[in-house]
């Protein structure tokens, strides 16, 4: 009964963590997972969210065993 939360790039550096395990609580959105994981009220503007390596929204619901990731706008290529 857990979820994995990952942070990348600037977010990873600013939060000082790249991955954290949280107990699973039914009915949470990614936005609420962010709050629980970081103890920050709001997602920084333009933060991108993925669930199980697919893009998702702040309102997407998180299921048990999900991998939730937060990262800044991408800058590859």
């Amino acid at each position: 009964m857990a979820i994995t939360v990952k942070f990348f790039a600037r977010l990873r550096e600013e939060l000082g963590m790249d991955e954290v395990q949280l107990d699973f609580v039914a009915g949470l959105t990614t936005q609420q997972v962010w709050q629980n994981a970081t103890r920050q009220e709001v997602l920084p503007a333009k933060t991108l969210v993925a669930i199980n390596q697919q893009y998702a929204s702040e309102q997407s619901l998180v299921k048990d065993n999900d991998e939730v990731a937060f990262f800044p706008p991408v800058t590859g290529g």
Binding site: K6, F8, A50, Q54, F71, V74, T75, G76, G77
Partner: protein, 147 residues
């Protein structure tokens, strides 16, 4: 259709040639009339004035699958015979190749269009993040340049 992430220098022309040989082995010679190749490389100036090096962070698993989805979309939109994407990760020096996109098709229009589609989609959706190092320290690149 192939996607490779490389931690270390790669030779884009060698990659294209090798992939093309495989393609010819698979579908026969004389099938494609057009190959469009794009190579993005690291300049020594960008948001900061003098960039001495760069680190490319990525999301293992998601980055590869995002690139595969993008190439699949291109194949659905245009009559493309094959695609190749190679992208650097890790530490990069000025003038190193960062990204290679190659598209093979029967006619030039599809090759050009699909290649550019893949590059634009990669720039906006593939999880990569650049951190540049200058004399004054490191900083994350805030956003990609528009096309």
């Amino acid at each position: 259709m192939a996607v490779y992430l490389k931690n270390g220098l790669f030779d884009p022309f060698k990659e294209v040639q090798q992939h093309q040989q495989q393609l010819e082995a698979n579908i026969g010679k004389g099938q494609y009339g057009a190959s469009a190749v794009f190579i993005g490389s690291m300049r020594d100036f960008n948001e900061a004035r003098n960039v001495s090096s760069m680190t490319l962070e990525y999301y293992p698993g998601m980055t590869e699958s995002a690139l595969e989805v993008i190439c699949q979309e291109a194949k659905e939109k245009w009559p493309v015979l094959d695609t190749l994407v190679v992208h650097r990760v890790g530490d990069i020096q000025p003038n190193d190749s960062i990204v290679l996109v190659a598209v093979w098709s029967a006619h030039r229009g599809a090759a050009y269009d699909a290649n550019r589609y893949i590059m634009e989609a990669l720039k906006s959706r593939a999880p990569f993040w650049k951190k540049e190092t200058t004399a004054s320290g490191g900083h994350w690149v805030e956003k990609n340049t528009p096309a």
